[in-house]
Structures are given as C-alpha cells and as structure tokens.
Symmetry: C2
C-alpha cells in the first residue's frame, strides 16, 4: 500500500514510553474507509467494554481519512475515538484546521495512544520521526501557551493539538484543541487525553499523500473546489459564518433560551450573525484547502476584555454560552468562548451545564452555600465568564459543574433531572427539538449522545430545503412529527458517517453528491468501488458504532429525550405549545429501527442486518 | 362567494368596447385554484384551437390568485394566458411587483380581453369602476412614458401594466410590463396585447381581499413572512440578487456563451453578481409583501449612458444580453436591459435571438446586405443595444429578428436551424442543459416551450441541494442523465404549477412546504382541502395545459431539444464533452410520460389519467 493512506499508524504506549510503527490494516481500511470509521474498528477490537474511560485501559485513537491532507476541498478533518467519560459509551470528536493534514503528512494515518504516562508528556512527530517529550513544564498551561511554548522551544513549523487545564483536570467535557482555536470538542476526549497525561501532539509534515491517479484526482479536486467556491452555502457562510443560522432557528421558535425554558430570546438581535459582524468580527478564517471562510476571526473591541483576540464564537457557542444562559452581552459570550478554547472545554457542554446550574440556582436546588456566595443567575454574562474558569480549574462550584449536566443532576436530585438537558450524558446543542420533531429523533439515535452533527437533520428541518415541497413519499413539516421521515434521518446519518470517515467537512457533504465524493475516493485510493458500496460502508460504520454502545449496555430505553422536551411544551413564540410527544417519539423510533434493520424491542442491529453489512463477527457480542 | 377571491371578473369586448362584469366560476376556481390554473381553464373553454394568436379570436386573460393581494409573503403575482405567437400553443407569463395586488383590490380577480379594438385603448379600473379610454396619444410611447402619462393625466395612484413599442409592433416576443420594470415576459403575450390595440391597464385598488379566517390568516402569513425573512435564500438574494446564480452556473460549465457555442465565458468576472454590485447597483428592490429584496435598482454610472436608471439586469437578462452575445460590458448589458423594459421586450428571447443572428452573421448566413452594412458580431455590446431598438421598432434587420429565433431560422435556412436555440419556438434561457441533463428534460416538457420556470429543475441541479446525497432511490448527478430522476421533475412541475395558480413567487415555493401553503390557502378561502388535493390540483392544471397544447397538434415529437444540444458536445470548460444524448433524452421522456400517466407514443394524457384528475371532459378533444 498505499494510495490515499500513508499506510502506517503510530502506536504509543504511554505507560512504558514506547512507540511502535505498524502497518495500517488494509482490510479494515477498505471496510471502514478511514477517519472515524477506521478508528472505531480499532477501538472496537482493542478496547473491551466496561472499562473506566479515564483509566489506563481506554485508548485514545486519532485517525485521518483518505482525503485528509489532499487537495480535496473541505477535507481537513481528523477524528478522535475513545470511550467517553460523559456517556460511558463509544465517543467521537473531530476537528478541522490544519492539524489533521499535517499529522497525516508527518507520515502516519493515525495514532493509537494506550496506557497512562507516569508524568506529563507530549508526542512530537517530525516527518516520520516520533518521540515522546517531557511536558512537565507545559502542564498547567493554556492551549495557546502550550502551542507557543512548543513552537518557541522546538520549531515554528510545528502544528499542535493539545489540551488545556480542563483536560488536565479531567473536566468530563474537556476538548482536544488544535491550531489554538479549533476543537475536537464533544464527548470529553480532552479528559481522556488528560487522564493519560498527554499534553500535546506536535507535528511537522511535508510528505505528500500518494494518489492512485494524481492527475485525475487533481482535476476532480479542482472541480469540486470550484463547485464549493460557487455555492449558496459559501455566499451565506462567508458573509455571516455559522451563526447565520441563529436567525433561522430563532424565527422558528426553537432557539434554546435559559436552559430550554423558552424558544425565543429577547436579546436575539444582540447575538445573531449581524451582531457579531457589527461588534467583534475581524476577518473570515478557513480550514486547510477549503474555499469557505466560515470561521470568524474576532477581537473584543470595548470594555474590560478590550483587545482580547481569538476565533468565534460559532453558532453553537453563541447560543450555549449566550441565550441558553440568558446572556445577550456579545463581548461576554466572546470572552467565554475564548476561555473555553484556552482552557480546552467543549463550548456546548460548558454553556449547557452552566445554564443548567443557573436554573438549579433559580429553583434553590443549588444554594449560595455551594457557590461560595455567588449569585448564579440567568443573564449574567460576567458570571458565565467566571464559571468557565472555575470549571476548568475545578474551583468552588466549578468542581461540581466539571462533572457535566447528567452527573450534576444525579448528585443534586430534587427533580433537577427533569430539566437536565442531555441525551445519554451528552449535553444537547442549540436546536430545540420540540420545534422540529425529527431533530429529537436525531438526538436520541446519535451514538455519541445528544448530538446534532451525526445526522444533521436539524439542517433541512430548520433551514428550509426545496425538497420539502416535492417529495411525495414524505410530506414534511418540520413542526410535525412523522414516522415516515425517519428514513431521511437514516440516510443522512449514513451519508455523514462517510464524511467523518473521509476526513470531510459536513458542509462539503451538503454540496457534493455521493458520486462526486466517490470519484475523489477512487482516484485517491485506486480502490474501485461503487456508490452503493460507499453507502453500505457508511451504514456498516454506523452499525459498528451502535454495536460499540450496545456492548456497553445501551439499548432502546436509552434512546430518550430529557423530560422537559417530552412533558413541557414551549411556552411562547412561534413554536408555542409544541412538545416532543413521548408516544410519537416511540413511533418514530419504531420506524427508525425498522428502516435500520434493528430489533424493535431493543434497538440492537439484527443478525440479518449484521450479516448483510459483513459484520457477522459482532453477532456473539450483541446476541451472544 | 367569496373568500380569497373578489368573486368577479371583467370581460372586455375590445371590438365593441363593451365591458361586462361576471361572477367567477366557483367550481373552476376550486378545481384550478386561480391564477394560471383558472385562466387556463377559461382559455381552454373559450378559445378554439387553430386560431391566429394575433387575430381577434385569441383572448388575453389576466388572472390573480387567491393569495395575491393578501399579506401572504411573496404572493404578489398575476398571470396572463393566451395563445402564444411564438409557440402557436398555450402561452403563459406572470409577473410580480404590485400590479397583481392592485388589480385584485380594484375589485376583480381577473380580466378577459376579447376581440380587437379599432383604435388604441387603455382599460382603467378605479375601485370597481371600469372603462375603456382612448389611448391613441399613448400609442408609440415607451412603457415608462405610458405609465407616467396615465398617472399625470388621471391619478398618481394608478398602477399600470402596459406594452411598449414592441408589443404595438407585434414583435413575437414582446412582453407585458408592469410597475415599469417588471415583465410578464415570455411567450409574446405583449404582441397579443398589441394585436388587440390594448396599450395599458391602469388600476386603483383599495378594496381588501376578504379572508375566511382573518385572524388565522394574519398569524399564518406573519409566520411565513418571518420564515422567509430568515432564510438562506434571502441572505444570498438580498446581497447579490438573482445574478448570484451566474457563478454557480458558470463554474459547472453550463453558462451559455456566444449562442451556446461555449459553456464558459472569459468575461464572467465582469458580469457576475459581484460585478453588478461594484458597478451599476444602487439598491435592492422588492415586490408587494415580500421580505426578499432580490431586485436590483440600478444606474449606469459612467460612459455614454451615464445617469440612465432602472432595474436589473436579472440573471437571465445578464446572460442573454451579455455572454450569450459574447458581451462582457456590464453597462451595455444594463442599457440593453433598460431598453427591453422600455420597449416591452422579453429579455431572454431578445438576447437569444440577437445571439442567434450574430452566429448567422459569423457564418455568412446573414450578410451585410441584410443588415444595412452593420457588422453584427459577438462581443459588440453597442450593437446589442442598437439591435434591441431596431427589433422593437422593426427597423432594418430588426424587422426580421422581431419574428424570433425559430421563424428567423426557418426563413434563413442554410443549416441555421441546427443552432436555433429554442424549444417549440420559445428561446431557451441561461442554463446549458448539456451540463445538467435533467434540465434538458425540463425544457422539452414545459408546456409553454423552452422554459426554466415551469419545473425549475435547473435549481437543484445547478445549485447543489443536500438531498442529492441522501435520496437512495435516485442517486443524482446533475452531469449525468438518469431516467429515474424524471419523477422529481414531475413533482416540481406540479408543485410550481400550484404557485402560479396561487399568485406565489417560485422562490417562496422553495421555502415553504406544501402544508404551510395549504394552511394559507384554507384560511384565505375557507375551502377545506388536503395536501393531496392540492398536489392533485397542480397535476390537473398541468394536464390541462398539456391538453391545450395537444389540441393544437403538439405531441411527443415536439418535445425535442435544438440539434446543437443533442449533437454538439460542449467544447471546453468543466462540462467539456457533455451533450444531451438524443437516445438518453428519449429514455428520460419515456420515464417522464410514464410517471405522468401519459401515453408513451404520443405524450398525450391517457384517458385513465384524465379521469383520475376529473378531466374526463377533455377525452373527446384528445382522444376523439
């Protein structure tokens, strides 16, 4: 081998500080494509169920895809897979920027970290040569300080992924950051990295990715780049960034506000895309080889944080650190976002957990005694900023909140579970599923927990897509639940799983049809395949991730929404009175499992489906 | 009656100068919804086949829809139906602005013009009171001069639809203009109006449209307005107008250039949306009750036409008066567009016919003798400006070109038919179907001829829509032909037919799902109906328009593309080598007729289908 792949992995034993190079498993690479898919296969084979996510038996697997590091547009991503300390199930996060491409070009498709280092370390890879460095002097540093220190002491050419204090301190929703501002944010994989005493990975990569059909690939990639470069998505995202979505969601009454107590926010005009353009925006930023500048290079231009610079906030961060906490002060939101990036925290879970704490405080479930006298009230942007730091360094109430919404609710009790806004332990993102029912189905079927990127079904439902009016088989109304729509979610989950495996951005996946992606894949790898094989691979990976969760004990009964969404209608605004009716959710799940070929009673992939997907070796694990 | 409708029509006998008021046919209004649908029913019942489109037997039917003139967002349109002098078949055109709403609020859902006036007249309607005015003094005036003269002499409150010199002079592709800059452009209905010596319709309307559920309608309309107001489409169109599409189409290599001899244009950066923003743009403009400012208020800011003002050019006009003629001078394109609006010419057919003439000149088929010595060469923007005027006043070569591409080719011969870019006599718009095959199917199945607004299938194919990757049943690649995709075109034709019947803009139809449109319709009319009935109505209307064409002799063999598209591959650019393979087109037609329930051999709706759609009374006409 190997075209499209570098052909080898690094296996880093942190306990013993040994590094070995091994060939990538070609059979698996073909079956699971790369990225999340391939990482999950290694994870499934090598990590037994029942282990402690923060113990030495967990493995932290970084993996790039066959398109990562090539000239393919919008394919800059790397994935990380490990058991999640938030969900205690299979966990996954991925990120753009340039770290993925540089890691791959350093000579390795991925890295499997095993064990726990006795002392803080960093992995350095300079064009094939990998070594573990002592990182004791970096421990306690923020993400940007870590990156700067590594570059200053070794080489400015280093591209760095690192954790901040949050990961070191095992905040369950700590993120792995790269290029300072980019996050593999969800599932608390920064805490896994911290538990292993792995502070950073720093790479120099100048080895080209070998392509089976170099000329053909270049032509196809150029064409795809041009297509994305001339798209409505680019027009909108270049101008407004991902926060363009804020108005779209808000106008439908599904913009989570004050811990999902409301779906509209009085301060929307202070926090929407235009508000960011008018205040903190400096310049659009982009990932490696992407024509869309959806990132927001920003600077706080007034007040106490004047002069602070960074990237974001993106849409999710603006909502969760903003209106979800009742905050409309864009400078405070931006500062909270900067701090999350610096400490290495997932902005969604951070903001959501703070919002949950605010409601607990409002209801007297958290008292001033627990907060050292602080008033944790909705609308106080300075308080959000303060709490982000307390969480990262586990100070005062921050030590409790660092456990995440689910664990905090379990500890506090007193009915707080009813408004603990998570699915399977992962805090929900910024789309109220009561206002767009199929989004709720997406939240419960996403294998990494309450997630919007697995199926991205909130996109078509919240954003209006022409097919809404033309698909006779499924007359869609985003405000109504319709079990027949479940097949759309299944299709989207499978399709987007392929993108995670390729190293592709999901926005790119909205623009390129399957056969154009296939064309890039075939020309990169030289492996002949069909669009049908390709979809089957997406379905195979999705079933494998489900199996990884089932093996940990997950089943249909875990595929549930927070009680608030099922029992408390949205009290006002355009979605007033709407709720995720539990009976309808069960009907939609029936339809979903049916489309998936999963057992309806348990939500476990049937033996027939497993055989169809060449996953018969999972049968003993799931049906033992 | 009647909610949603004013309940009455004006019938104007131009031969005898009598005006009668009649009740609208309620049964027909329910079956054909309004607008194009209802107008077509009157047309079918009242206008026999075989008549001269420019003779007294043709009728010119203006009709608004049940949503026209209400607070419903983006529902400002009126339709005009008559036999077309371009296609000699059923013809239809519609337009936004404020004329439709004002006509309706003047007290009438529509007007049926019959016969031919001995002398030029204008119809004036002031809140229910209709009279024919002598318009001899207006004959020979441009559209804006006509509007100004009527307003100056009668009332500034008048809203006007009028023809310019092109309609008077029976240019076969003359348009009916309203609000000076808006065109019911296609099918040459301005020539029909001119043939009747009807110069203008001028209305004052202040009567409200009665609504069955006023409060409910207001709430629903407000909600829909808000949804459209917060949409990706608005983001793009507010910023760039319809010409945003230019880059999207060009990057796919399907931007018609020099009479479709090429699919890419060297001067694209001088004529795309950004170029218009940087040069002639002044301000965005909008239609009645629409939140999207997709119109471009413009002014020529330099050169010989400095200070000239107007609206546009829109996307189609920019291409047809620009790159289709090889012209990249945005000021010349803008001036040509202004002149088309002033003389009342359809910009698509005008530009396309000039482009055709330029290729004929290039090939020596049109000679300097025919042009009075003019060099009609590609790239000469001043020449396009000059020819627009010559066509409108039928001067020199303009007298020939005024007949339209098909007739010119028939007259010239010498192989020019092979590159005469029309379907059924209607010049093709600005999307090269060789680069997006299903667009070619849409061109041949559109009942008004080579049209892009009937099925709008070039939208999803040229602009990338997320469903491309998720619809398992029909894996779409816009560059490949796939008969299975034909059902998508059928669905879109039916759905957009409903919009034409409602008075809705097709952009709105991309944003609102069927049941939200239904909700507006039910609350406006009080007529209970279902989404299924609604789709059936769209299909019924589509079949009726087909029947109107079949009755004139049209059949499957008329559903063909110009020879250039089927025999000459695009010679360069991203779509190099692509062609509308004639065999594949026939396979796609097979699939289309099959999905439609039409007889495959003839393309005529089967008796079974006609019965299913309550159109059994058409059986004797079609199957006699």
């Amino acid at each position: 081998m190997s075209y499209g792949f570098m052909g080898q992995l690094l296996r880093v034993d942190l306990t013993n500080h040994t590094i070995t190079v091994e060939e990538i498993n070609q059979t698996w690479a073909k079956q699971y494509l790369g990225g999340t898919g391939l990482a999950t296969k290694y994870f499934y084979e090598e990590v037994p169920s029942g282990i402690d996510p923060l113990g030495p038996e967990n493995k932290l697997i970084f993996m790039t895809g066959p398109l990562t590091g090539t000239a393919s547009a919008s394919a800059s991503r790397y994935s990380v897979v490990a058991k999640s300390p938030q969900t205690n199930l299979w966990g996954q996060a991925n990120s753009g920027g340039s770290f993925g491409p540089v890691l791959k070009k350093s000579g390795y498709d991925g890295i499997i970290f095993e064990g726990v280092s006795p002392t803080p370390v960093a992995l350095q890879i300079i064009d094939g040569k990998a070594e573990l460095l002592d990182a004791s002097h970096l421990w306690g540093k923020t993400v940007p300080d870590t990156e700067d220190a590594l570059q200053d002491s070794i080489s400015q050419k280093l591209t760095v992924a690192a954790i901040g204090q949050a990961g070191e301190n095992l905040v369950t929703y700590a993120a792995i950051m790269n290029n300072k501002h980019r996050a593999a944010g969800r599932c608390g994989l920064g805490a896994v990295m911290g538990s292993k005493k792995l502070k950073a990975i720093a790479c120099v990569g100048s080895q080209p990715v070998q392509l089976a059909d170099k000329k053909g690939f270049h032509d196809a990639a150029t064409k795809q780049f041009d297509l994305i470069d001339e798209s409505m998505l680019k027009v909108g995202f270049d101008a407004f960034g991902t926060n363009m979505v804020a108005d779209f969601v808000h106008v439908r009454g599904g913009y989570p506000t004050m811990n999902w107590q409301q779906g509209v926010f009085d301060g929307i005009d202070d926090v929407n895309a235009q508000a960011i353009m008018d205040t903190v925006f400096v310049e659009g930023t982009r990932c490696f080889a992407c024509p869309i500048t959806c990132g927001r290079g920003t600077e706080i231009k007034e007040g106490k944080w004047k002069g602070d610079k960074g990237e974001g906030p993106e849409y999710e961060s603006t909502n969760t650190l903003g209106s979800m906490c009742g905050v409309s002060d864009i400078n405070a939101i931006t500062k909270s976002n900067y701090l999350c990036n610096e400490y290495g925290l997932d902005t969604i879970s951070t903001g959501a957990t703070i919002a949950f704490a605010m409601e607990c405080f409002e209801k007297g479930i958290i008292t001033k005694e627990q907060t050292d006298g602080l008033e944790i009230t909705f609308g106080d942007g300075d308080m959000v900023v303060a709490l982000v730091k307390k969480i990262a360094i586990r100070e005062g109430i921050g030590d409790l909140l660092a456990k995440g919404t689910k664990a905090v609710a379990e500890k506090l009790g007193q009915g707080s579970e009813k408004f603990a806004m998570h699915v399977k332990g992962l805090e929900l993102p910024a789309y109220d599923s009561r206002a767009a029912k199929i989004t709720g189905l997406g939240y419960v079927t996403a294998n990494r927990g309450g997630d919007h990127m697995t199926g991205y079904i909130q996109g078509p439902t919240f954003m209006d897509i022409p097919f809404l009016i033309v698909d006779d088989s499924s007359i869609r109304d985003p405000f109504q639940a319709n079990p027949e729509e479940a097949h759309v979610l299944v299709d989207m989950e499978n399709a987007l799983t392929v993108l995670d495996a390729f190293g592709g951005c999901k926005f790119m996946g909205m623009l390129l049809p399957a056969d154009e992606l296939l064309d890039l894949y075939v020309k990169a790898t030289g492996w002949s395949t069909t669009v049908e094989d390709f979809r089957k691979a997406g379905e195979r990976i999705y079933n494998l991730t489900r199996a990884a969760c089932v093996r940990e004990g997950a089943s249909r009964e875990d595929d549930v929404l927070p009680e608030r969404l099922m029992a408390q209608p949205i009290p006002g605004g355009p979605a007033e009175g709407m709720v995720n009716d539990p009976e309808m959710l069960e009907l939609m799940k029936d339809a979903y499992y049916d489309f998936r070929g999963w057992d309806s009673a348990t939500g476990i992939p049937t033996q027939e489906k497993l055989r169809e997907l060449d996953l018969e070796d999972l049968i003993p694990d799931l049906w033992g």
